[in-house]
């Protein structure tokens, strides 16, 4: 199957940041003129930026235009700084509709890297096929890139339908999701036995159980990994309140614990993309800056986790 791939070049990144006046903000990163970190989707070889964006809570703002315009600025910043994957779900209330409203207000050439990702979630009602159609309508897109099965609900039925849709070119990638460290055994069984492109689960400095089986299995099976809850909804950042950044922070180009938390995740070789959610432009800039600068090796990653856990 031939895909219209959206490669994000260094030139495009710098042009985009310059266009919105963000280059000075980038500081040492821009000076180094490094490209945002790209990761390969094993099933096709297509690359996507390692930092994506979640929409849980943050984009569930309803019809109030002031709130929608705030989110539009967040999304514009995301794309301007090289963002690609945006993840949502019918479980997230009005988030998909708000996302479509925002995408409608961003010129197509300013969001060329978009990798739309959403989910089928049975409790939302309607069949899986209807939910795919709903997602296309709500996102105002002709096709959703990554269609996942939310929390494995009715996964056998939905997976069969999604495989047919993928074969017909209706969706580009299919995947399964979980979060909060639940259902890992079932996720593992599906990863080992089903032809999925993506798997999504929670992984961060405080939730490292995926390192034991899920991440190695994903690498082994050629499954792209989306990491949700990188900050445990801000809880991990709160936990670092008042804790000074250790000396290694400067070595990997991070200036905050939030960046260290993200860099820890995206530096795992099996991770394809982390999807922090935010409603703040400043936080989006902070997140996206994590894609530049050196990555920690395995030894430093271990030390980072130890320093994070230390009182």
């Amino acid at each position: 199957m031939k895909y219209n791939q959206s490669h994000f070049s260094r030139r495009r990144f710098l042009a985009a940041t310059a266009a919105v006046g963000l280059t000075p903000w980038l500081g040492y990163n821009a000076g180094a003129a490094s490209s945002p970190l790209l990761r390969t989707i094993p099933s096709t070889g297509e690359t996507i930026p390692a930092i994506g964006m979640g929409t849980w809570i943050t984009f569930n703002v309803g019809k109030k235009e002031a709130l929608r315009y705030d989110r539009l600025e967040v999304l514009k910043t995301f794309f301007a700084l090289g963002g690609g994957m945006v993840d949502s779900s019918p479980m997230y209330g009005t988030a998909q509709d708000v996302m479509g409203w925002c995408l409608d207000r961003i010129e197509p050439q300013q969001r060329v890297g978009l990798m739309s990702a959403t989910k089928i979630w049975s409790p939302a009602g309607g069949s899986g096929a209807q939910q795919v159609g709903d997602a296309e309508r709500l996102w105002r897109l002709p096709r959703i890139d990554v269609m996942q099965i939310h929390n494995l609900v009715d996964w056998q039925d939905h997976l069969a339908m999604l495989l047919d849709m993928k074969a017909a070119g209706r969706v580009r990638y299919i995947g399964i999701t979980t979060s909060h460290g639940s259902r890992h055994q079932q996720i593992e069984q599906i990863m080992a036995s089903q032809p999925i492109d993506f798997v999504q689960f929670t992984y961060n400095m405080a939730d490292r159980s995926p390192e034991q089986r899920l991440l190695p299995l994903a690498a082994d099976r050629g499954i792209a990994v989306i990491v949700n809850r990188p900050f445990r909804r801000g809880g991990l950042i709160d936990a670092t309140d008042g804790k000074p950044l250790p000396g290694w922070a400067a070595d990997i180009g991070v200036t905050t614990w939030a960046q260290a938390l993200l860099k820890f995740i995206i530096s795992h070789p099996a991770v394809t993309c982390a999807i922090p959610a935010t409603s703040q432009v400043a936080h989006m800039k902070e997140n996206m800056a994590t894609m530049t600068g050196p990555l920690p090796d395995a030894t430093l990653r271990s030390r980072m986790a130890d320093d994070f856990a230390a009182p």
Partner: protein, 203 residues
């Protein structure tokens, strides 16, 4: 596994503001209806039962199912529980006339808390008057007033106990929401309902 709400406190009050505006003057009528339900509780308990029933059905149908369900997938479930509770109040109090009311200090505290103190406290938090949840059209202040009326209510014990179930369950929902949204005022809802249920049981 942790609980999370799919919206923020900012969005909650934004929706409250839109809801009050979209259904204007329902919020005022609903609040006046609650005042009337309380005022008539001893002289005309059937009217009180009907008003209470109507208010709970309204909140279930219009606030939960029609408004909040867009933001929170659980709101549909909550909505049907509110409607069932409303039917219970209307049938037992209004149609069957099986309820009467006897005022107590604790009941007055809950009623005044829901009608006056709760909305004023929301204003004190810095939210606009146009976004203030009022008893009669929004769940939490309505449950506070209902807790007072349940305390004052007299009737068959089994039915009185049954009428406490949904408000008590909502108290738990409100308490969890207060924690998740970081809005301590709403801890008053579970406190009031648990106190009301315990006082009822003690009697």
């Amino acid at each position: 596994m942790s609980f999370e709400l799919p919206y923020s406190i900012e969005v909650f009050f934004s929706v409250a503001e839109s809801y009050n505006a979209d259904w204007f003057p329902a919020a005022i009528i609903g609040w006046l209806a609650m005042v009337m339900a309380v005022a008539l509780s001893q002289r005309a308990p059937r009217i009180t039962g009907l008003i209470l029933g109507g208010v709970w059905v309204w909140i279930g149908l219009v606030h939960q199912i029609q408004t909040m369900a867009d933001f929170n997938f659980m709101a549909r479930v909550y909505g049907w529980a509110w409607i069932a509770q409303g039917v219970g109040f209307a049938v037992l109090g209004g149609v069957l006339s099986r309820l009467s009311f006897q005022v107590s200090k604790a009941a007055v505290v809950c009623v005044l808390g829901g009608l006056i103190v709760y909305p004023l406290s929301v204003l004190a938090y810095g939210y606009s008057w146009s976004a203030v949840p009022l008893a009669g059209t929004m769940p939490n202040p309505t449950v506070l007033v209902t807790a007072g009326l349940l305390l004052a209510m007299r009737g068959p014990k089994v039915w009185l106990a049954a009428l406490c179930v949904v408000p008590l369950a909502w108290g738990i929902v409100a308490g969890i929401s207060a924690y998740l949204l970081g809005f301590p005022l709403d801890y008053t809802v579970p406190i009031a309902m648990v106190a009301a249920a315990l006082l009822r049981a003690w009697r």
